[in-house]
Symmetry: C2
Subunit: 403 residues, 2 copies
C-alpha cells in the first residue's frame, strides 16, 4: 500500500533473528547468537564508572558533541595506543555500536551501484547495510588464514573500468564473524599494499581482537598501515566495547582519515545528532578506571574454556561428520558438514532436540554453501555447550537414520 | 582524494553549529541553540530512575530488542494515551532521538529524486537528512497558524504525474522550530483529509507540545487522525524525551502504521542494531516513577517566563525594528527585521556585542528570506535574556548608525 523505497520492497529476513523464538523455551540451548556472556559483565566496575560519570550531570544529560564526548575520545586514544595505533580526536567518531560506524561510512562513500568487496562469508547485518545503500557486492573468498588477498588482487587487476573497481573492502580480519579465522600477517601487508595501489578503502571491523585465548596477537591493519607507505590514508578501523565490556552501552568508534571523519560526523548529525552522552561518560570513566585489562584476561580465559569445550565435544561426538578450524579467539566456530548433509536439515532436527545454531547460507554474499554452519560458544555455559553438542549429535544421527 | 558519494561532495555547513565557537567566550549570551536549560533537569528523578534501572543489570547491559525495550514501550503507550493517542508495541520504534526516527523513515520511504513537501522554514538537521537521502524538497509556506495547507492542496492538485506528487510531508505542527507557530485545528483536519485523498504520509515531529505556557492544547495530528476516515494510515508521529526530560538520554520514538514500523525496525538493525538498552531502562523507570507531569509544569512555567522576558524586551527595546509572534510554548521566537536590515549583518554586529542568534536563511528550503532570524529563550536565564536583548538593540543601533 505504501510507496516504499526500492531496497525495502522485500526486506531480507535475518537468519539469526529468525531463530530467537526458539530461545523462548528455556530448555533450548542457543549456540546461535552473538551475544556476550552476561554473567561475565564487570558489574562492579560499571557501577563505579556510572557513579563517577554522574558527578558531572550536565555533561551526562545535555546534548554532547556529535562526534563524541571529549573525555571518551581521550580514553579511546589511550586504548588504541595500547593496541599499537596512534590516533587523534579529529580521526575519531564515537558511534552507537560499530554498526553505526559502518552505516555512516556507507552514507558518506557509497552510491547506488558502487562496487564494494566483501570478505565472504561475513556478518549478516553488514550485508544488509550494504544492501540498503545499494552497493554492488563482490565476494572475496576466505579460508583459515582469513581473506584470500590473491583473489582480491585478481579482481582489482582485471577490472576494466573505474566503475568496476571497488571503492571499499569490508573485512573482520581478527576472529571473524562467522568464521573465527584470523588474517595472516603476510596477507595483511599485501592487502595494505593493494589498497594504496588501487586506491580503495579497507574497512577493518575489529570487535573481537582482544578476546584472544591462544596464539600470538597479530597487529591490526590500522596498526600495520604505519609500516606501508601511504596505507594510513586507506584504512578505516572500527572498534567497539560491545563484546569486551557490554553491548548495552552501545559505545563504539571509527578511526579514519581526517576528511572522512569530518564527513561521517556530518552524516551522524542528520542520522541521530549524537550518541547518548551519558553512556559515553560511563564508558569514559570505565576505561579511565583501569579495570579493562584484568577484565579482558578474565573473559578471554572463560571464552577459551568454552571454545575448547565446543571444539573437543564436536571432535569426540561428531568426528568426521563436521570439519572446522579451532579459532584462537572471538566467539565463533565455523563448521562444514560432510556427506552432503545440509545445515538447514540439521537445524530442523536440532530444534527438535532443543539446540540451535545458524546455518551458514545467510552469511554468504557469493553462492551460499548449504553445508556450513556457525556455532557460537560465547553465551552458553561450558555445561550447556557440552550438552548442546550432545544434542547436535543426536540431531545428526536422527537425520542420517533411515526413515 | 576519496571517491565520496554524491550528497557529500559539498557538505552544507550548519547555520547553528557554525556559531558554537562564539559561545566559548563565557561572556557571550547564546540566543542561538536549541538546547534545553540544564538547570531544569530533574536530577533527583533521573538518579532514582537510574538506581531502579540498575536492579536488572542484564537488561541494561545486554543487547536489547532493535525496536525498543519492552517496558519502555509500555510507558510510551501510557504517555501517548495521556496525549490522546492510542497505540500498541507493534507501532513503536524507540530511536536515538527523533532525528533517527526521521532518518529511518527516509531510508524506508525515500528514493533519490522522490518529492517531499517540507513546511518552510523548518529544522535544519532534517533538511540535511532529506538532502542525504536525495529527496527533492518542495517548500510549503507557513504563518502564525502553521503550515499553509491551502498552498499544499494546490501543489497536490496540480501535480501532473505520480512522480510529481509528494510521498511525504514533514511538519512540526506545535511550537515549530524555528517559528514557534502552532497549526490551527481547522488546518490540521484539512491536512489529514488531504493525506487520505492524495495518499501521502504526514510526518508529525512533536518534541515541544508539552512545553506549553499559554493557551489551550491543540490535539496532535496523530490524535486527530482517529476522527478522519482512513487518516491513521497516513500519519507518522515522532516524539522525544530530549526537550522535556534530557537530551543525554537520546530516547525518542516513532508511532507509525504496523508495516512501516516493521520496516523501520529492519532499517534500524543495519543502522545501529539498537539504541542503548541501559538508557531505555532509565527512561522507562523515569516515566514509571510518575514525576513527569509535575516536571512539565515546572519547566513550562520557567520557559514561559523566559519567553515573556524575550518578547517584552524585544518590544520595548527594538519596537518597530522587529516583527514577531509571541509563541504559546516551545523554545523559539521567529522574528523579521524591518527596514531591509539583513539578519547576517545584524549577527556580525551582535557578535561584537557578545550576543548571538541564528539568521533565518538556513531554515528555509525555499527562497531564503535574509531578514528573518531565530531566537531561542530556552537555555539562557531571564537576566541573560534581558541583557541579550539589550545587546541586540546596541547591535541594531550600531548597524543603523551612519558609517
Amino acid at each position: 500500500m505504501y510507496p516504499y523505497s526500492r531496497p525495502f520492497v522485500s526486506p531480507a529476513s535475518s537468519p539469526i533473528r529468525d531463530l530467537y523464538k526458539y530461545l523462548r523455551d528455556p530448555e533450548t540451548i542457543g549456540l546461535s547468537g552473538g551475544y556476550p556472556d552476561a554473567t561475565l559483565f564487570d558489574i562492579d566496575g560499571l557501577r563505579e564508572a556510572s557513579v563517577r560519570a554522574w558527578q558531572d550531570t550536565r555533561l551526562c544529560l545535555q546534548y554532547g558533541d556529535t562526534d563524541g564526548v571529549v573525555k571518551l575520545k581521550s580514553e579511546i586514544i589511550r586504548l588504541m595506543e595500547r593496541r599499537g595505533v596512534r590516533t587523534a580526536p579529529e580521526n575519531i567518531v564515537v558511534t552507537t555500536g560499530s554498526q553505526q560506524a559502518f552505516d555512516l561510512l556507507l552514507t558518506v562513500m557509497v552510491n547506488e551501484g558502487d562496487v564494494v568487496c566483501v570478505e565472504d562469508p561475513t556478518y549478516t547485518n553488514n550485508i544488509q547495510a550494504l544492501r540498503v545503500h545499494g552497493a554492488r557486492m563482490l565476494p572475496v573468498r576466505s579460508d583459515a588464514d582469513g581473506l584470500d588477498v590473491a583473489q582480491l588482487e585478481d579482481i582489482l587487476r582485471t577490472a576494466r573500468t573505474d566503475a568496476e573497481r571497488p571503492k571499499l573492502l569490508y573485512t573482520i580480519p581478527t576472529f571473524s564473524n562467522p568464521t573465527g579465522a584470523t588474517m595472516s600477517l603476510a596477507r595483511r601487508l599485501h592487502l595494505l599494499e593493494l589498497a594504496v595501489k588501487y586506491r580503495f578503502l579497507i574497512v577493518e571491523d575489529d570487535p573481537y581482537s582482544e578476546i584472544r585465548f591462544n596464539g600470538e596477537p597479530v597487529p591490526s591493519l590500522r596498526a600495520l598501515a604505519a609500516e606501508v607507505d601511504g596505507a594510513e590514508d586507506w584504512v578505516v578501523h572500527m572498534a567497539s566495547l560491545s563484546k569486551i565490556v557490554a553491548p548495552g552501552l552501545r559505545v563504539a568508534w571509527s578511526i579514519a582519515p581526517t576528511e572522512i571523519t569530518r564527513r561521517c560526523a556530518i552524516a551522524k548529525q542528520s542520522a541521530d545528532v549524537g550518541s547518548s552522552a551519558w553512556m559515553q561518560c560511563i564508558a569514559a570513566e570505565y576505561l579511565a578506571g583501569g579495570r579493562l585489562e584484568a577484565h579482558l584476561e578474565r573473559i578471554s580465559k572463560v571464552y577459551g574454556e568454552k571454545c575448547a569445550a565446543l571444539c573437543s565435544g564436536l571432535r569426540e561426538l561428531l568426528g568426521e561428520a563436521v570439519n572446522f578450524h579451532q579459532p584462537d579467539g572471538g566467539m565463533f566456530v565455523w563448521a562444514k558438514l560432510s556427506g552432503d548433509v545440509l545445515a538447514a536439515d540439521l537445524l530442523k532436527q536440532a530444534i527438535e532436540q532443543k539446540v540451535i545454531f545458524v546455518p551458514g547460507a545467510g552469511f554468504h554474499v557469493g553462492s551460499p554453501d548449504p553445508t556450513t554452519l556457525r556455532l557460537s560458544f560465547a553465551a552458553p555455559s561450558v555445561s550447556q555447550i557440552t550438552e548442546g553438542v550432545r544434542r547436535l549429535c543426536s540431531a545428526w544421527k536422527a537425520l542420517r537414520a533411515p526413515a
